[in-house]
Each structure stands twice: as structure tokens, then as C-alpha cells.
Symmetry: C2
Subunit: 337 residues, 2 copies
Amino acid sequence: MTTRERPTLEAVARRAGVSRATVSRVVNGSTTVAVAIREAVNRAVDELGYVPNQAARSLVTRQTDSIALILPETANRVFSDDLFFPAIIRGVGSELEAADKQLVLMMAGSAAGYHRVERYAVAGHVDGVMFASIHGADPLPGLLARRGIPVICSGRPMLADPPVPYVDVDHAGGVAAALQHLITSGRRRIATIAGPQDMVAGLERLTGYRETLQAAGLPSLVAAGDFTRESGVTAMRALLDQDPDLDAVFAASDLMAHGALQALRNAGRRVPDDVAVIGFDDFEISRYSDPPLTTVRQPIAEAGRVMARQMLRLIAGDPEIDPAIILPTELIIRTSA
Amino acid sequence: MTTRERPTLEAVARRAGVSRATVSRVVNGSTTVAVAIREAVNRAVDELGYVPNQAARSLVTRQTDSIALILPETANRVFSDDLFFPAIIRGVGSELEAADKQLVLMMAGSAAGYHRVERYAVAGHVDGVMFASIHGADPLPGLLARRGIPVICSGRPMLADPPVPYVDVDHAGGVAAALQHLITSGRRRIATIAGPQDMVAGLERLTGYRETLQAAGLPSLVAAGDFTRESGVTAMRALLDQDPDLDAVFAASDLMAHGALQALRNAGRRVPDDVAVIGFDDFEISRYSDPPLTTVRQPIAEAGRVMARQMLRLIAGDPEIDPAIILPTELIIRTSA
DNA sequence: GCCGTAAGATGAACCGGTTAAGTTCGGCGG
DNA sequence: CCGCCGAACTTAACCGGTTCATCTTACGGC
């Protein structure tokens, strides 16, 4: 193991025959350095393989060039089947990479982990904190914001003591488009499988459903789910029990829609002939389901990118940050409805 | 915005009427502090909301308590449809969380990003670096190891100048079990859709296929893929062209197996009646494909956990690190074979 | 009553950078 | 020829912790 000592500024300075300060200025690209000296310093840097010590640097600059993304689920539940978080990570990651910032991923599921996130951020380990999805009335965003830490949320936070800027998608518009499509194609008994009601996404999609159907003078029929496939199966069964003659289902997530497809098949219903099904997300797998799923596409990766861009602005001290950015959703029509 | 100044050790010391050194010892849980003083200090810490400055701390301790996980794909390709990386992240994350270490996720796709990773690690931003999957003869693991940075790989690295400890799964055993199952159930013309040959996983699964079939005295038929669903579709079509009478396919990934199912359906073949299909991975979605996929389960999340544990040991200075840990694979029999 | 000792607290020297203030020196105007 | 100016470099003071050597104090043994 060639655990060679890491060279310090001091070492580089000695080798180049200049002072620490000069080396620092060369390394940081200052212009007021004579060409000859700059070259000598750069040579010394290369020869020694010098890399600045990040801890020392951020001790004085108060910057770390890394940004946290909080996944507020337990590490074990995140990613199990869901493609929401991967997409967010992808978007955020690509944008931060372009800005030469590092992405620090944190799972804040457990109560201990939750507190750990707070300490981590306050300790100055990161320049800012992004929340990938908020459950219930999470106090953490507000708490960090009050501590003076830049915060951006994906999804409107239910609780934000000092209001926190956020990026969200047009849930209501997406739902309305989906239901309109069902109504236009003649469906009249349209049920829904709702998402968790402690998340804004779940809440708004259900509200959108209720309002659209009411405006159309059609009856509502709701079953509760939690965005997972299993809950979709269970909810679909419950709906069929309550109204065996329903002719359409709007599920608040693609995974629940897949569960519904499965339950409908087992119940002997044909999709879309007997029952039309629409989901929400447009995950990759929905193109390959049987039948391919009609669904509301939400630009998740794009939301991640926008969130990252907002964060970079916030850190740069830009005073004009949109308090809310709402991205459009789009109905993708395939075979299931 | 309550951007209240962050209190320092000094402030706490003044308030508690003791020296900086004493506060430091209390904060770090030293035992040689009188109870009365310890309590006074803790009170001061609470009142001021003191949190140690991480940069200052790691400047002297040379520790950051965070560990990097490198995803060596471009940020845009990772996660697109694949459930491998999410599973690794899940395993690594849960284990590090338990050890109170932070996971830093890095995408090293672009050439620039690649160099960035090196600088980041050498700058001492993290205590160690884990590689989620190695493409080709990546020099980075060896390079970091030579710099004295703890490194663990998932998947045997093809190139490791100073040998780097790794965690992998029993590819050969899994492939053998799958093929044995096909042979036992009477299949004789068994083709394979291979993975990318610049990755050990792709390489070893193909080798396993060749050796097992040769030992059984059966002919080989290989089409190239790259682990994606699309490549599975293409490869399956090519295989059917070459041998319309094949009666089984072993795909080196679940995604490719799903592509094969799709291509077979389009070609009018029934699965498993006409052609048996086996995949490799056991992603969640494979339980819900049509028909449900028989596949080789590899414990991806477990590999992540083991990798994290090895890393923690390495950092703790444990001299006895297994240079290689191979986790068992298991054939999961469903309907497709 | 004196001394040795150990528990517990302190002062100060780091860690490795950044940067404001100070120094040196060549050149130019008067 | 002198003084002044600004460019370019150096000196030194931080940033906020950790830790070791040192000092203080209380106590037990003789």
C-alpha cells in the first residue's frame, strides 16, 4: 500500500520556492500572479500530486460544494419497487454534476436518522438540503430553514414555518385530463384508488378526482391505497365489492394501477372492455404491462433537475427564487383506457 | 430568516465557565469529567443549540464519517429502468445508517465526473470509496487504493493493481442451477442472451453457460445484449432467426428476459410450452410478468450490506479483511420455465 | 504535618487552508 | 535624483475544533 503522505500547501510552496499564500492563489486561479511563478507552482503541484484538503478549505470558506438530498422513507422501503426516487435522484444528480457539486444522499426514515440529518446539515457538512418527498407535516424543512440553511422541497410542504420554496407537478390538471378522457369515452361509474392522505400528492389527486366528478355530475367511489402495488390489488377488490358494475378506475399511482389490473384480471374483468384503468406516474414498466397502461405522466426527473437548479441559485445568493414552480403533467394514452 | 450565528466551542465554554478543552471532552463523551461540570456543559450546549463544526473537526481527526458509493454510469442511464443500483443503495444505506455514517452518492459517468471522483476522494471528503459495479478495466479503484484510500468493490474488479477487496455473487453457480433445471425438464436447444462483455457479471454468466452446456454435451447459441429490456427483444429475435426450433432461453438479466418474453409473444411462441425462459436477478417486477419469470435470485441488497460492513472494518483498521466474499445465488422457479 | 499521587481541568500547539494587511521593488513623473 | 505608485509576493492572523503536556487540587499514607 503506497500510503504516501498527502502533500500540503506548505510542501508545494517549499518546492516551488514561494509562500503558502501564493500557492493558494495559483490553485484558486487568481490573476495577480506572474506567469513564471504560476507555472513553477503548477509544476510543483503536479509533481507532488497535490490536492487541497477539503476540511481545511471549508473551515475557512464555509462552503463544502456538496448538497444533500433527503429521502424521508426508511432505507429499506425506498427503492423496493418504486421508481419515483430513482428518477428524482437521476434528475438532481445530473444537474449537480454539471455544476460540479456533490450529491449526498440521506435516508431519514428512522427517528434517529431524522435527528442525524438535522445535525449533519447544521454541522455544515452540506451547503443546502433538498427534500425528495414530504410525508405529513414534516417539521424538518422549516427547522433547517430557520437555522439559515438553504432548503428546497419537491412537492408542496404541508408545514413550512418560514415558507420553503418548492417544485411540484400539476396534480389537479393531470387528474382532470385523465377523468375527462374517461368521461368522453363514455364511462360513467368511475372509481378511484387514492394515495396516502398524509402526502400532498395523495391528497391533491383525490381532491382533483372529487372535484372533477362532481363538476360532471357523476358519483364518486373511493378506496384507500398507499401507492404500492399490493394496496392497489386490495383496493381494487374492495371497489368491485362495493360496485360490481363500475366501468373505470383512476389509480393515483402506476404501481396501484398495476395492482388493479391484476385484481381485475383475477375477477374476470377485461381491460379496457369492461373496466378502463388509468394510472399516474408513467413509469417505464407501464409501457409493458398487460394491457399497456394509460397514465398521467409526471416529469419526475425534470422536477429533480429544476429542484437542483433552484438550490444552486439559492446558494449563490440569488434573491429572486420562485416560491413555487409547478411542472405540467400529460395524459399518455395507451390501451388500458 | 433566523440566520442566527452558529455558536462555537468557545461560546459554550464561556457560558459554562470552563475551557474549550473541557467542552470538547464532554461533547466527545470522555469519562474523565466531573459530573457537575459535565452537566453544566451539556446545559450550555442545549441552551445555545451548539453543533460541532464538521470541517474543523475533520481537519484534525482526518475523519469525515461519510463514505462514497460510486455509480460508474452516466447519471442519465443509471436508474432508467434498472433496479440493480437502487437495491445496492438500499443495502449500503441501511448498513451505514446503522453505523451512523453518511452515504455520499457519486455518478462517475462522464470523463470529467470520473476525475472529479478522484479529486473528491483524495481531498479527504470521504473516509472510503465503494464501487457499485465496475465497467471494463476501470483504473479508479486501484488508483484510489494506491493513494491509501479504503476501497471496496461490488463485483470482482477486472483490473486491480493493488488487489482491492470485493463482494460478488456466485454467477457460475446460479447459471448452472438454471441450466440444470432446463435440461432436467427436457430442454435440448438452449440459447442464451448474454450481458455486456466488459462487465464481470456479463462475462461470468456467459462462461457459466458455455461450460455447463458443453459438459452436458449440448450445443451453444449466443446472442449479445446489454442487460436492458430492448436488447433482450432484439437478441431474442436474432436467436429465433438463427434457430426457430430452440426450446429454451437463458437471459443474463431479468430485464432482458422480459424483452425475450415480449419478443416470443410477438413471434407467436407460448412460454413455457414452446420455449422456456429463465432470467437472472429476481427483480420485483419479475413476479408480475406474463408469465411470472423463473429466475436466478442474486442478493443485491445483501451484497450492498456486506460491502458496507467490509468498508466499516477497513476504516476501523481491521487487518483481516476477506479479499473476496462470494454470496450464494438461488434459482426461483415460477411459471416461465 | 509532609509528600506522593491521581483525578480533573487548562493552556497552547497543532490540523491545512484563505485572505487582509504589510513588504518589496521596478518604473515613471516631476 | 527622489518620491510615489501599483503590481506581486510574503507575513501572519484567523477558521473551530482535538489533544497532549502541564498545572492544580484534594486525598490518603506514614
